[in-house]
Symmetry: C2
Subunit: 388 residues, 2 copies
């Protein structure tokens, strides 16, 4: 086990009608002038935005609104949000929505206290301060409601990049599973693919003897696999939505990564892909991940066999563990297919001839990608080819 820090200070208010406590919680965590940031119309149409505004008013808080965050959130709206915060002396950013609204809000919260270009923090600069940020979650997927990370696409070059700091962990997050009832099956399933990937990026590691972290990750994956079909069958199954929603948070607050080297090559390969074609992040991951797994499997056959046995209930082939390892990957692919996810990048609009451009967009230079296997440009090309 490696030395690690684990820090997940977010206050999670989980359950039915918890959004009514928004005002009380903003006050508890020191906000007075709030920017409410959200995406499209569903937050407005459903009446959720009104309920939240009422809660803020009841607590005597002032606020302004900024809607329009899109999937794979863009830099343009973030510059607008930052201006707005500076102009109106905003001291608290409240995101209402899924990972896109939250990540966009995080970038605004960071930029609001910075004189330069917020994009600096996506190209290597360390975040030193940020406005407090909180969330009311409506989409189970990104885990951004409890994470220290954000992913933004810059419109100049459509580069999709991540930023990271404990300062952008939400001070509170409200998780009401009922708010996810209206999520269409495709978005629900893409969320599931993202959640699975958040665990797997941490699970496939070269660090030995991380028994507890392994088993916690397995707990999350088993829950996701168990609950997803129930949710797809009955979108208003509260219990299944609730387990899935909490799994999405635990998958990404880093308890599943404690004490070990993490990989994240698949996420980065997917980012270039969804940055370019603007497909749903989870759908891209559903396709990239099995290709990555097949390509790197031989690095640690027994770890993939463990994944097959403990997660998919495969029988261990002690004569030839590679068979078990392969079976686990196949079961993962079948599961993704069964919940309506694509299995080929071409289903998502990718073309073989775009692969060199996808690799270029990673801007690797002399570096490699990932840690489980350190991928060269050539490795990455082969993985994209396996996935097309």
């Amino acid at each position: 086990m490696l030395n690690f820090n684990f820090y997940s200070p977010t206050y999670f208010a989980f359950g039915k009608e918890r959004e009514k406590e928004t005002g009380k919680l903003v006050k508890r965590f020191g906000g007075t002038k709030v920017l409410i940031h959200y995406g499209g119309g569903s937050v407005v149409k459903s009446g959720l935005l009104d309920r939240i505004k009422k809660s803020l008013q009841n607590s005597g808080l002032s606020f302004i609104e900024l809607g329009g965050a899109v999937p794979n959130p863009r830099s343009g709206l973030i510059y607008t949000g930052i201006e707005l915060c500076k102009e109106k002396n905003i001291d608290f950013v409240l995101a209402v929505g899924g990972g896109s609204a939250i990540d966009s809000a995080k970038a605004i919260a960071v930029g609001a206290l910075y004189d330069g270009d917020f994009w600096d923090f996506f190209t290597g600069k360390t975040i030193e301060k940020a406005l407090p940020i909180a969330t009311v979650l409506t989409l189970t997927a990104a885990g951004s409601e409890g994470s220290a990370s954000m992913v933004i696409t810059h419109e100049n070059g459509m580069l999709k990049r991540g930023g990271y700091s404990d300062l952008i962990r939400p001070v509170f997050s409200i998780l009401n599973p009922e708010l996810t009832y209206t999520l269409p099956p495709y978005q629900t399933a893409a969320g599931v693919a993202d959640m699975m990937a958040h665990v797997m990026e941490r699970y496939f590691t070269n660090t030995k003897n991380v028994e507890l972290t392994d088993r916690l990750g397995e707990a999350v994956m088993l829950t996701i696999i168990n609950e997803t079909p129930k949710v797809l069958k009955n979108p208003k199954d509260y219990e299944a939505r609730a387990n899935l929603m909490w799994a999405g948070t635990v998958a990404h607050n880093d308890i599943c990564g404690a004490g070990r080297e993490q990989d994240w090559a698949s996420h980065k390969m997917e980012h270039e892909f969804s940055g370019l074609y603007d497909v749903t992040h989870g759908a891209g991951l559903a396709v990239i991940f099995p290709a990555w797994m097949k390509y790197v499997m031989k690095q640690d056959i027994l770890r993939f066999a463990q994944f097959a046995v403990r997660i998919w209930g495969c029988e261990m082939d002690f004569q030839n563990p590679e068979n078990t390892a392969r079976e686990g990957i196949e079961r993962y692919e079948q599961f993704m297919k069964s919940i309506g996810m694509p299995t080929r990048l071409s289903d998502l609009g990718a073309k073989v001839e775009d692969i060199p451009m996808l690799i270029d967009k990673l801007q690797l230079g002399d570096k490699t990608l990932g840690s489980f296997v350190k991928l060269t440009r050539e490795d990455i090309r082969k993985i994209y080819e396996l996935a097309v």
Copy 2:
């Protein structure tokens, strides 16, 4: 699943030599004048206390010391600590040791900002403020390094009672597994019994559909069972000590209790017992818990069968699940025995004739104990009798 709040804001600095960062962390979390609170001589003899003092000095922090916290920590020293804090304008309490030193330090941190008797907070009063508290952990067991609770024995009547507030969750905890190398086998095993109990108090519940919380608890229990024999065989097995130490924290920061009714009857029955006879808390739990399980099992045979199958690898008896349930309890008892824990209360000095007194000390009045089965005085008597 029930509505819940999950809040575990502690910054965990985990790994080798992390105690060297004590000063830096105290500073990060706002401390300037520190009370270092610890137990017996081992912290001094091992040189740990000196390393910590040096770290505080290097960060330019002033401090005073108060040693002498004992297992089942007593009220007397807490009154002394509170006086000291008030007199010296202490603004940060640092516990060095195991659950006893930490709980004693938590009570001091609460009492230091209160004009009345700190015991009020153990008899129903709500905690409204406390000095920030942090820990350097040397004993894997109580989980107090990440929990919102403390347990103190008042010398007037030897009543053992708990206090609870998010305000006493440590702001940081340093977990270096090497600091647990010198822990004797009996104390190591008693810690294991305590950790298992922290999960089981939450695991045996009437709340349905708490899939993720179930599986997270199972992850912790499986890890404990897997790692304990390694630690007893080789006390300096870093990896096993590390997994066990992290399991002790996760067992009790309430991630294993999210969204469900918890029980805690066994803990309360044990508290009266160890308050009276001054035995090690974990050893008492090792004996009380199987008696409780046998007594309440019929409340939910399939939950006990799940415990047997998923934790102990028992084969499910589909014809008669009660057999499986019983086998799980037996396997738990065998495990406790195999690690050197007692199996009868009489091994710990208890006498049948003391049972009425133990029940009286619970001061139940008209109330019942626990939630999985609401135990009457008569139920409690039978459980104590099963355990003697």
